[in-house]
Symmetry: C2
């Protein structure tokens, strides 16, 4: 792409560094901003820089939070001894949306992925082990995505916390509610048969 302006080229380049945004889309976004009042671009730049510079994480669960302890960790009604291990804030939001979970979270900030240069040291695994060691945490639910990286991460944490006698589980994998069996992949369908649940339990929710 040949641009008639360096300023334009630079703005398009920086936007196209974001994941899933190519040069064409970046140009479309920049031209949109040019048609809007200056204040919109100012607010956008300011909001991004502000977030990046002022970002803080909850001291207990490592979720993004404006205060030392996030709302969930600060809520005395939530069970401190039950911890759900997730990858990032989106998973916390998704589980909170269900309204079914009453424990705490622990946000790892990623998964172990040697190919991307992410080892256990890059993730918030150590603080979780400390909480288990202190006896604060009695049960851990693994809610990472079921990829090789997710399984590796689960297993790594499991090996660290198992000696302390903590209860561990992973969220159930199975056919989504409302899905047709014929379209399910065989791994999921196979697991859903192996890990079948008593019929009475399925009536509960």
């Amino acid at each position: 792409m040949e641009f008639s302006s360096k300023l334009l080229e630079n703005a398009v380049y920086e936007i196209s560094q974001l994941p899933g945004i190519g040069k064409r889309t970046a140009l479309r976004l920049v031209l949109h901003l040019l048609r809007q009042p200056k204040e919109q671009t100012e607010r956008l730049s300011f909001a991004l820089q502000n977030l990046r510079n002022e970002i803080r994480y909850c001291k207990n669960c490592y979720n993004i939070s404006d205060v030392e302890w996030c709302e969930i960790c600060a809520n005395p009604k939530r069970e401190e001894s039950l911890v759900c291990v997730v990858e990032d804030i989106r998973d916390v939001m998704a589980i909170e949306n269900t309204g079914q979970y009453t424990g705490h979270y622990h946000v790892l900030g990623g998964k172990i992925s040697p190919l991307d240069g992410i080892g256990p040291g890059e993730l918030n695994i150590e603080p979780l082990v400390r909480k288990v060691e202190k006896g604060v945490v009695k049960e851990i639910i693994f809610a990472l995505s079921s990829t090789m990286e997710g399984d590796t991460t689960n297993f790594y944490i499991y090996k660290q916390v198992h000696p302390y006698g903590v209860k561990t589980s992973t969220i159930a994998r199975g056919i989504a509610v409302g899905d047709e069996l014929e379209y399910a992949d065989e791994v999921t369908l196979g697991r859903s048969i192996l890990n079948r649940i008593p019929f009475e339990n399925s009536l509960k929710s």
Copy 2:
């Protein structure tokens, strides 16, 4: 969406104001920026603000340009008397990419669209008419998209410049090179028969 941080919510909101970007995508982009070095967010914010504040348009064709006269208008090899009327800079880039056009451009900055509150006064139509009046422009090629708004804009400009005896044309509409006839829409196919070209001409390029 419930956010655990006002800073995060604000950044997601501002990004989701861009066209085609919803809250989920905005959150994904923001989380990506948080995983990158601070400098990337700084560069992005700076590039956007810089563009928005310093943006300049070519005095002759109204294309985005860092200097008074854009590279095309300043090039003595380009025909000043032939002007291609386009909507925005993307159209200029697309036509320049073909390497077939040797004239100037005139960037309108949009199309007449009463529903969006865009009248002829909001577009750069007046300066084009002045150039025709002065006798600088001898031929105009309309290259707006063939929608109702595009056709209206073409006709509005045509009525203004026609009295000065300027030659006007629109780019050819027809079946794209390499396309199958059976998939073409009937309007395009119909026009391509009405506006057929001598076979010898089709051998040229």
